[in-house]
Each structure stands twice: as C-alpha cells, then as structure tokens.
C-alpha cells in the first residue's frame, strides 16, 4: 500500500474543502435552519407526532441523510471529475498507485467532508428540537457508511461524466427524488399499501430507516436489513470502481 500517495491525495482534496470552509459550513446551517422553520415549526406544529416522536425531531435523520447523500455525491464526483476536466488526471494515471489507493484518497476526503456537514446539521438541529439519540454508536456507523457509500457512487459518476451537465444529471434526476421519496420527511407506514410496496425498491429507504432507528429506536424496516442493504450497495460500488480501473473505462485511452 502506497500510504504516501493516499495521504497526498487526501490532503490535496481536503485543501479544496478548507479553501471554502465558510461556504462549506454556512450553507448546510442555513438550509437546515430553513427546513426546520418550514417543516418543523410552520407545518410541523400542525402535524401529529409520528410513532410517538415529535415531527420536528422526526425529520432530523432524514434531513441529515438528504444533505449527506447529496454532498457525498457532489464532493466525490467533482473531486475526480475536476482533474479529468483540467487534465491533471495524467499525473494520477502515471503514478505508482493502484485503484484502491486512489479510491481511499478521493473517497476518503469526500466522505470526511460530508461527515463534517452531517455533524454540522446535527448540531444545528439541537438548536431547534429536543433530541435524545438512543444508539449514538450505531448512528455514527450509519452516518459513516452513508458518507462512504454515496461518495463511492459520486466517484463513479465523476468518472462517467463527460461534462458538467452530466455531473449534475444523476444527482438531480435520480438521487434527489430517491431521497425525497425514501421517507426523509415521513414514515413509510403513512403511505397507502401499494406505495409502501413500491417504496421498498428504493434503496434509500433502508438507509434512512436504519439511521432513524439509531435516533429513536424504531424503524420502517428491520435494522439488519438496513445494514445489509447499505453494505451491499457499498460493495457493489467498490466492485464497479475496481472494474473501471481494470479496464480503464472513461479514464485511460
């Protein structure tokens, strides 16, 4: 393992994050505050508690997941797409590194950034609602796994994308709808039976459900199923990235 290379990629990518630290910090704080004002206070005050949890608190795990998933994809896809766009990818391709080292460096940095954002949102949530996290270690594990798996997905999107439009296409057209329809702001049990069945094909449901379980001790699907789904998704992304580097798809002529 070329640890020097992993460290170099990670440090270089994190430097991009630190250059825009204010925006990185302020943007999630502002958007989360707006969500709480609209959903938590304005609408939430007229809604009943969901499974015994006050609506304002109920949406916290979904809000964190929404930002963490979209930020993970955005950070990781940009991280690998930008060197392709400006041509500096030549250095990566001619370096004595294997696919794992490249992935650990880029995806590790992207996941760190989204983990930071997730924790900032959690901190902001405490300003608006009373939260008592029932399984804090499980919560951190789910958060980490989500950061990691969606950063892997973002890395794939970044390699696939041929231009900036494509870079935004998948997050906009696929991921955001999946997250919104994945129970971020409601319990699956609130849907009509037919839609409950349809929703089960949405992988994001398992992530949000598992994450919510860590917060409140109750979930739409069993915790083991959630864990299995996210692990499978992570492994699938890793396998695809391994194939990308083996074949040179979209990166090596």
């Amino acid at each position: 393992m070329n640890f020097q290379a992993v460290g170099a990629i990670y440090t270089f990518e994190m430097a991009r994050f630190f250059r825009t630290l204010k925006q990185s910090f302020l943007s999630p704080v502002l958007s989360t505050s707006l969500y709480f004002v609209v959903f938590g206070t304005a609408i939430g005050s007229r809604m009943e508690a969901v499974d015994g949890v006050e609506y304002g608190a109920f949406i916290v795990p979904g809000l964190i997941m929404l930002s963490v998933m979209t930020q993970s994809i955005a950070n990781a896809s940009f991280g690998i797409y930008f060197p392709k766009f400006i041509g500096t990818i030549y250095e990566l391709l001619s370096a004595p590194v294997n696919f794992l080292e490249i992935v650990v460096g880029y995806v590790g940095a992207a996941a760190t950034k989204s983990l930071f954002i997730g924790l900032v949102i959690l901190g902001t949530a405490y300003l608006f609602v009373d939260l008592d996290i029932q399984h804090p270690i499980a919560m951190m594990c789910f958060l980490l796994l989500t950061c990691l798996s969606f950063s892997l997905l973002g890395f794939i999107i970044g390699i696939w994308a041929g231009n900036f439009e494509q870079l935004n296409l998948v997050p906009m057209l696929v991921v955001t709808p999946l997250v919104f329809l994945g129970g971020s702001f409601y319990s699956i049990s609130m849907l009509p039976p037919i839609w409950q069945t349809v929703t089960m094909f949405n992988p994001v449901v398992y992530l949000i459900s598992g994450f919510r379980w860590a917060f409140f001790g109750q979930a739409d699907v069993a915790i083991g199923v959630s864990l299995g789904a996210i692990s499978l998704f992570t492994l699938g992304c890793m396998a695809f990235i391994w194939w990308i580097f083996k074949t040179g798809w979209r990166i090596r002529s």
Binding site: G87, E91, A95, P96
Partner: protein
C-alpha cells in the same frame, strides 16, 4: 544492449481503429538525452503516454530498467517523471502544495529541502506560495517540470516542454535539462523545435506515422546526412547557367546574381576545385563566396518527405 527504457515491437490501436504506433522499437540508454522528432500526429505523445502508463498498449513489450511496465508498474512509475504537452495544473493551489502533492503521489516521503532546491533550480522559489492561477504561461511550464522532478525520477519525459515559451525561458530550460543530465537523469524529449534537439540532444529519433524512421547519434547523423551549400555571388548577373557548368547542377538565383552548389560533406571528392576552375573557364567572375551547413531541420524534413513517398 538493453537500454534503461526498452520499447519492443509496440503497437497501439485506439478504439476508433486508428493505429498510432506500428510495431515501434526504441532503446534509450541510461544518462542520455534523446530527442524524439516527428510531425503532428506522428505518435510521439502516444509513445510517451504508453511508456508512462497513461495509455494502454495493444501489443508488444516495454521495460524500464529491465522491469515490465505492466507487472512492475509501481517500481517503474516511481522511476519516471513526466512533463505533459498541455499545461495541466490545479489552478487554485499554491506552487509548493502542487509539488508536495506530486512527491507524495509517487510514494516519496516529505523532503522540503529537496523541493526548495528544485524550485530554486527552476527559478520558482520566490513564487513558492503563489497560487498557480496567478503565474504566467512560462512559469506554469516550470511548475510542471518541478512536479515531474518532485519524486527524484531517474527517467524524465519532456513532451514539448518549450512549446509557446519565449526564447529566454527556452534557453533556461535547456540549461536545466543539461544540469539534470549531469545528475544522471535520462531525458526523453519530444519537440517541434529542431534547434532544441540540435542544441541539447545526444541522439535523435525520428518518428513518422507511428514508425521510428531512424535513431542515430546527433553528430553522426548530421555528418552522415548533412549537405553543404556554396553560394557564389557573381560580378555580372548571368542569364543562364553555362553549358560547361551543367555537371554541377547549379541553381541560378532568380535575378541571375548568384549560383548555388550543393555537395555532400562526406564524399571523397566535393568537386569544389573543379567548379572554381570551370567558373573561371566559363568567364564568370566571383564577387563573394559563402558556405552553409544544412541543419537538422533540413535533414528531418528530408526524411519525413522521403517516408511519405
């Protein structure tokens, strides 16, 4: 003898079916500067990209210091530095951080003293903490070289390093290349500037349409293929070349004021004495005589044109 870089029967066919390298063979000796000359699309960059691992080869074998570039890619790539043709740099990062990144990426531990030395050699030290985007084009090229040298490579590929660079900076770079050669670095240079190859290379390889046309010691090549010209300015303009001088295949200037004789410097008899005698016998009087050695550029153009036939 196997060189430090050995390219054996390498073919590269791109997805679209274009064959960029057609069974290329090239042996590069340790410590030399070899210039790879060729017109646009000849396969120079493809050859370099393939050796460095950016492009995959279709068939053939490439070794560096006896190690295969595929199976021993870690050891091989750690030995190689590459300065690409296009300026490709992270614009928002500082010079020193860009160079640090390159050193780390190639598996070398931190060594600020060495990096400072590299920056000083390339006259970049005072720009160490400047963002890359604030530098001029020439300075950015230096940063590319600094990045390529950051991990102390034994083999350095310079893909048209002085394209679009002013004369002063170009000469600075030639000096840098000379210093690296003294340190034992093997340098492979592609260039469009023949004078560049003429000034710094030990050997010349000419590539055209994916094939190496020749590889030869620069001085020997120039001596072997070099032609010399004598331009004879006449006292009185001549309307035609006199019949007596026909065997010399002289060129008459458009205004008839001069005759040009081309001869091979290596031939046993250059014919100069006979020409001078025959000029006098033909009644032509000389005002002035100038000689001119053909440049590497003339040789190169000649070779490529011959290959195209």
């Amino acid at each position: 003898m196997t060189g430090i870089v050995s390219v054996q029967n390498v073919r590269k066919i791109y997805d679209g079916g274009f064959e960029a390298l057609k069974g290329t063979n090239l042996e590069i000796q340790e410590g030399e500067i070899i210039a790879l000359l060729g017109p646009n699309g000849a396969g120079k960059t493809t050859l370099i990209s393939t050796i460095c691992g950016i492009s995959s080869l279709t068939s053939g074998k490439i070794t560096v210091d006896g190690m295969d570039i595929g199976t021993d890619y870690r050891k091989v790539r750690a030995m190689i530095g590459l300065v690409p043709q296009e300026i490709a740099l992270e614009p928002f990062e500082t010079v020193i951080n860009s160079v640090r990144f390159s050193r780390g990426l190639f598996g070398k531990k931190k060594n600020e003293a060495y990096l400072d030395e590299v920056l000083k050699t390339l006259s970049l030290f005072d720009k160490k903490n400047s963002k890359v985007m604030t530098l001029s084009g020439g300075m950015k090229r230096r940063v590319l070289i600094a990045k390529a040298l950051a991990h102390e490579p034994r083999v350095l590929f310079l893909d048209e390093p002085t394209a679009g660079v002013d004369v002063e900076l170009r000469k600075d770079m030639w000096n840098t290349v000379a210093k690296l050669k003294k340190q034992g670095v093997t340098i492979i240079l592609t260039t469009h500037y023949i004078e560049e190859a003429e000034a710094i290379a030990d050997r010349i390889a000419v590539i055209n349409s994916g094939e190496i046309l020749l590889v030869e010691d620069k001085a020997a090549l120039m001596a072997r293929m070099g032609k010399k010209k004598i331009r004879i300015d006449l006292m009185e303009p001549a309307k035609t070349v006199p019949e007596r001088l026909a065997p010399y295949f002289l060129e008459l200037a458009a205004d008839g004021s001069a005759l040009t004789y081309t001869y091979d410097v290596n031939s046993e008899r250059t014919g100069i004495t006979g020409l001078l005698n025959d000029l006098q016998a033909a009644g032509l009087q000389m005002r002035d005589v100038q000689t001119q050695q053909s440049s590497l550029e003339d040789i190169f153009v000649g070779l490529v044109q011959e290959d195209a036939k």
